[in-house]
């Protein structure tokens, strides 16, 4: 089991060029652009990138899931499971002071935080990860520096569930009132304290003097500017009024990609689009048809064309290449029109059919939809597109559409992807996929404690899903960020966190 030692002070951002490595000078302030939070910035309910990026500044997690999807200790200095992975013990870092300058962090704070997020009564967003895994009474403190989590069921990836991946779970004082307004205080153990907040324009952070990591952060502060749209951010970066774009889609960022004066960070992630097909309704109730559709796609073209190569091929299972647990030996599904046509006729739809694809107007999704439309046309499937705005899609069509495209953010472990959209009981099971065999496999996977065991089950799941194809996973795209070359040490996660603890202006 993986308990790495103390955080390496100069952990640079892997996979992406950071000129000058950690060689940054102290002081200075920068402007970071971020998509405006979809809703109130409330630790319980935040469910989008803008929100979590905001939480992640003043707030910190037990563990940090880095860009290689490995866990780094933060508030938890180390952790270990019992043999079957049903009980996890976390050592809590001592001598941590909150950014209010006074409050000291204790194990009780951690307990309170975990209880709050795992309590169904609070209807926290984290429930989607905790449900069936952790319940309030499963959390207990042992002394002042140890927290023990007793799980409902064994879970080998539990530390990820309390890492930055479960982005709601920032550690807050036991006294914190989850009904209150977080944005008033921005209390947290992080390196920043809020000096100004406006739900419209953004947050201004200043360095928190009481931060527990000596000499950090380098910057005096930074302002997190909210934008409704990516375009102004890109223009802003090009024009210089913005120093860092926390996240942009490869499409929008076209200009940035081939702009030599801009540093682009492409972080491998498990973020992806799911093209679900309702398995319990014609026409997609036949797996041949679903396979045919999957086969009609030319994924390399999608990746190179649509995503500017900033993505990994998807193989119609949640196991992204980014996951250490993924078994890459499973053959990649490639475009094969003739086979697809065969399958169509086997599925009794030799001369095609009409179907409506619902999705929403964001990122590259409409384009993807149109490309799928193009591809499907080759096997006589006529797709009618219904592109809604996000709210309409999610509230009206997402879970009851014959076919749809849903965007899934990054997770550090495939667990959520395996459960919510695919389990018979999955809350996001838009494909209405019900396969007991699959459910049991997922059970095994979750329980598996070490990596090899996990990979073994993964292989079976991948094969099964590839055959059933309830959902097409066309690609897993990189998390794209960009900054001026004069800025180094910024860390990004596929989840959408941006960590500026060690960031600064290059000397």
């Amino acid at each position: 089991n993986n308990n790495s030692g103390a955080p390496s002070p100069t952990a640079t951002v892997g996979g992406s060029p950071t000129p000058g490595g950690g060689s940054v000078k102290a002081g200075g302030t920068i402007t970071v652009s971020e998509i405006s939070p979809a809703g109130a910035v409330n630790p319980l309910t935040v469910a989008d990138e803008g929100g979590l990026a905001t939480l992640g500044q003043a707030g910190q997690y037990l563990t940090w899931s880095n860009d290689k999807l490995q866990l780094e200790p933060v508030i938890a200095e180390s952790w270990s499971p019992n043999t079957d992975g049903s009980v996890w013990t976390f050592k809590i870092r001592q001598g941590v002071t909150y950014n209010d300058g006074s409050t000291q962090l204790t194990a009780d704070d951690v307990v309170a935080t975990l209880k709050a997020h795992s309590d169904p009564a609070n209807k926290g967003n984290a429930l989607s990860a905790f449900t069936g895994v952790l319940e309030p009474d499963g959390v207990a403190a042992q002394g002042s520096d140890t927290v023990v989590c007793t799980l409902k069921a064994p879970n080998g990836s539990f530390p990820y569930l309390v890492s930055s991946d479960n982005y709601n779970v920032i550690i807050l004082p036991a006294s914190y009132d989850y009904g209150g307004d977080y944005t008033k205080s921005f209390i947290g153990t992080g390196p920043w304290k809020m000096s100004n907040f406006n739900s419209q324009t953004g947050v201004t952070y200043v360095k928190s003097p009481s931060y527990w990591q000596q000499g950090l952060p380098y910057l005096d502060g930074f302002s997190l500017k909210y934008f409704a749209d990516q375009q102004p951010q890109v223009l802003g970066l090009q024009q210089g009024s913005i120093d860092v774009i926390a996240q942009f889609s490869a499409a929008t960022g076209q200009a940035l990609l081939n702009d030599s004066a801009i540093t682009v960070y492409a972080t491998k992630s498990s973020a992806h689009r799911q093209v679900h097909m309702r398995t319990d309704q014609a026409p997609f109730d036949k797996k041949e048809i679903r396979q045919a559709l999957a086969l009609s796609l030319n994924r390399p073209d999608l990746v190179s064309g649509l995503m500017n190569g900033k993505a990994d091929l998807g193989n119609d299972s949640p196991f992204a290449p980014a996951f250490p647990q993924t078994d890459t030996s499973v053959p990649q599904r490639a475009q094969n029109i003739s086979q697809a046509q065969q399958l169509m006729s086997q599925g009794g739809a030799a001369n095609g059919f009409n179907v409506t694809l619902y999705t929403w107007n964001g990122y590259e999704i409409p384009q993807l939809a149109q490309l799928i439309q193009q591809a499907a046309a080759q096997i006589k499937i006529t797709i009618k597109l219904q592109v809604q705005d996000a709210n309409t899609y999610y509230s009206k069509y997402w879970l009851n559409s014959p076919m749809g495209i849903t965007d899934y953010g990054h997770r550090g472990v495939p667990n959520v992807f395996l459960a919510a959209p695919l389990l018979s009981t999955g809350t996001w099971n838009a494909a209405h996929y019900k396969n007991p065999a699959y459910d049991t496999l997922v059970g095994q996977y979750v329980a598996a404690v070490d990596l090899d065991a996990q990979r073994a089950v993964a292989k079976q799941i991948e094969t099964m899903l590839l055959d059933d194809t309830p959902i097409v996973f066309p690609y897993f795209y990189n998390h794209m960020s960009a900054s001026k070359p004069t800025i180094a040490g910024a860390e990004f996660t596929g989840m959408g966190h941006i960590r500026l603890t060690k960031a600064g202006l290059t000397a």
Binding site: L235, A255, Q367
Partner: protein
């Protein structure tokens, strides 16, 4: 009060404006000399003598042609072929005069085919609004009294909300689709047109042929639609063309904001909305050409309405 015809007015106006000048001369034909050309033919001749009107008409006709035969004359499939994605965002070239868009689709083809959507939607929407507006305008203008008071207030209330915003409101409510766009724009235009028509009806209502009709105890509907309507057809026609222009404008804007027509329609506004993000990379062609198309169409429509206005108004 005695009021004599004052041809000297004809005189001055005539000097001013060839169009009215012609009417001055109509005035002369009154005194029964041989040529009895009707006002209508007169107007037509005048329109044909206004170059701007001609140009406007030609351009509009061009786009109508594209709207009808778009798919046939477009050099490529406006939806693109599988694999065309690999040729995305290519600058204008001999194969792709207007270049390609972010999915490698031929911009020229999309502009050509795109004319249909916008024209159909804009025309239907405006027609809807004009019919409704005319009916309301006639009723309020002619019947007057409390009906006028009440309806006018309501119209005012609607007029207080800018078209685009009202559009956003309604479209968010009904969910975006061409049909809803038509309904919404039509609905939004109704009060505007109603007001114009009412304004045109009020003076007509004072005309004595209306009194004469009432003296025959005509039904109100008859007076409105048979007696008055033909006399306000001019302003209505003008208003219609003007509104078509605004309709296009509004639709494009709504689409740009994402509340209007949805992908993959080759709608111009949609093209701009989805392509303008590349401008920052100096990829101007997928945005510029649809923009020009819009501009040319609306300008043309305005030229036409301008011409008509000069002939019809007063």
């Amino acid at each position: 009060m005695i009021s004599r015809p004052r041809p000297e007015d004809v005189g001055t106006e005539a000097g001013v404006d060839p169009v009215l000048q012609a009417f001055g001369v109509e005035g002369q034909h009154d005194s029964g000399d041989g040529s009895r050309s009707t006002a209508r033919r007169e107007r037509f001749r005048l329109l044909l003598r206004s170059p701007t009107f001609i140009i406007g008409t030609l351009v509009v006709l061009f786009w109508i042609f594209c709207a009808i035969f778009g798919k046939q004359i477009a050099p490529y499939n406006y939806l693109g072929e599988p694999g065309s994605i690999l040729h995305k965002l290519e600058p204008p070239s001999s194969q792709h005069w207007f270049g390609t868009d972010d999915l490698g689709r031929d911009v020229l083809s999309r502009v050509i085919v795109g004319s249909r959507g916008i024209l159909v939607v804009a025309l239907l929407a405006t027609a809807l609004g004009t019919v409704a507006g005319t009916a309301i305008g006639l009723a309020t203008g002619y019947v007057g009294g409390w009906l006028d008071e009440v309806v006018s207030r309501i119209l005012d209330a609607f007029l207080a909300i800018p078209v685009v915003i009202l559009g956003v409101l309604a479209l968010v409510a009904l969910g975006p689709s061409s049909v809803t766009v038509i309904l919404v724009i039509g609905f939004v235009f109704t009060p505007i047109i109603a007001r114009t028509v009412r304004a045109a009806v009020l003076p007509e209502r004072e005309q004595e042929y209306v009194a004469a009709a009432e003296l025959r105890h005509e039904r109100r509907s008859y007076v409105m639609f048979v007696e008055i309507l033909p006399n306000v057809s001019g302003p209505i026609l003008v208003e219609f063309t003007v509104r078509v222009g605004y309709a296009i404008f509004a639709i494009v804007t709504l689409t740009f904001l994402g509340f209007g027509i949805q992908p993959p329609a080759p709608d111009w506004g949609l093209q701009i909305a989805s392509q303008y993000i590349y401008l920052s990379g100096h990829i101007w062609w997928p945005t510029l050409f649809p923009a020009l198309a819009i501009a040319s169409l609306v300008v043309a429509v305005n030229l036409v309405s301008d011409g008509l206005a000069r002939v019809f108004e007063r």
